[in-house]
C-alpha cells in the first residue's frame, strides 16, 4: 500500500530533547573524534563557546525522534526504511544544556518503482524559538510485502 498522499504538509508536535554533557562525550567517542571541544569546557571557550559543543551530526539524535512519530503516524515499520539523503543547515552548533524542540514536517511524497519517497524537514530550535538547525532528509519506504529478497 502506498502511503496516504493527504499526509503531505502534516506537521507533527514538537519533540523535546536536552543536550547533555555525557551524551555528547559518548557520541564523540563513538565516532572516534578526539576534538577537545566536545569534552572540555576550556577548549570550547577558546572557540568562544560558553559550553562544550556537539559534533555536527549529533543533531540526528533529536531528529530521529521526529522521524519516529512521523513513522508511527503513517504506520511505517523501521525495517522498510532506507535513508537516501541528508542535509543539515546550521545557525549554530548544539551546545550542552540546550533544551531543543524538533518540529517535523512531511514536505512531499513521491512514488518511484513501487517505493514511496518521503521528503521530511526537521526544524530544531532552542529556547525562545532560536533556530539551531534544519535537517532535510529523503527516506525511501519499501512496500509492505517484499517478496523479491
Amino acid at each position: 500500500m502506498a502511503i496516504d498522499a493527504s499526509a503531505v504538509g502534516r506537521v507533527y508536535p514538537p519533540q523535546p530533547y536536552e543536550v547533555s554533557r555525557e551524551k555528547v562525550r559518548e557520541f564523540a567517542e563513538a565516532i572516534g573524534d578526539m576534538n577537545p571541544v566536545y569534552v572540555d569546557v576550556e577548549a570550547a571557550r577558546q572557540h568562544s563557546h560558553d559550553e562544550v559543543v556537539a559534533p555536527p551530526t549529533f543533531v540526528m539524535i533529536p531528529v530521529m525522534r521526529g522521524f519516529d512519530i512521523l513513522m508511527e503516524d503513517l504506520g511505517i515499520e523501521f525495517a522498510r526504511v532506507v535513508h537516501v539523503d541528508q542535509r543539515f543547515t546550521y545557525s549554530r552548533p548544539l551546545i550542552v544544556g540546550d533544551r531543543l524542540e524538533t518540529t517535523t514536517t512531511l514536505d512531499a511524497i513521491r512514488q518511484v518503482a513501487g517505493n514511496d519517497l518521503l521528503t521530511i524537514r526537521n526544524d530544531v530550535r532552542a529556547a525562545e524559538s532560536e533556530h539551531v538547525c534544519t535537517a532535510q532528509a529523503t527516506l525511501l519506504i519499501r512496500p509492505e510485502e517484499n517478496g523479491d529478497v
Binding site: 551524551k23 559518548e26 557520541f27 567517542e29 563513538a30 565516532i31 572516534g32 573524534d33 576534538n35 571541544v37 566536545y38 572557540h47 563557546h49 559543543v53 556537539a54 559534533p55 555536527p56 551530526t57 540526528m60 539524535i61 530521529m64 523501521f78 525495517a79 532506507v82 535513508h83 537516501v84 539523503d85 541528508q86 542535509r87 543539515f88 543547515t89 546550521y90 549554530r92 552548533p93 517484499n146 529478497v149
Partner: protein, 138 residues
Amino acid sequence: MSDLAVGQVVADQEYLITRENLVRYAGASGDFNPIHWNDRVAKSVGLPGVLAHGMLTMALAGRLLTDWVGDPAAVVEYSVRFSRPVVVPDDDHGVAVHVAATVTDVRPDGLVAVELAVKVDEQKVLTQARALARPPQR
C-alpha cells in the same frame, strides 16, 4: 582573506570502521536497526552482510571537516547522499573509508564550499557530499 583555491585538497584521511564501532555508534545514536549489528537479519533482508549506519559514515566525513576547520561552529551546511552500502566484515580489521575534501568555491562572504569524496575500495559510498564552512584562519 582566505588563500584557498578552487581544486585544492584541504584534507585527506582514512578511517576504519569495525563491528565494535557499529555497536558503539548504535548505543550513542540510539539507532538499533539490527541490519547494523546482526548478520542473520541483514542476510534475511537481502543485504550482503552487516552494514555501517549511513549516519556513521556521514559523521566520519564530518570529522574530516571539523578537523580541518577546528571549530565545529564553522560548518554552516553539510549534506550527503547515501549511494552505496558500507559492508563491515566480522574481523579485527574492519573496512577502510577514505575521505578527501576539495575546495569547489571560495565565496566573497568568506565561506568556502568543499566537495567530499568518500570511498571504499575506490568506489564512492556517499555522493553529493558537500559542505559550506568558514575556513580556518592561518
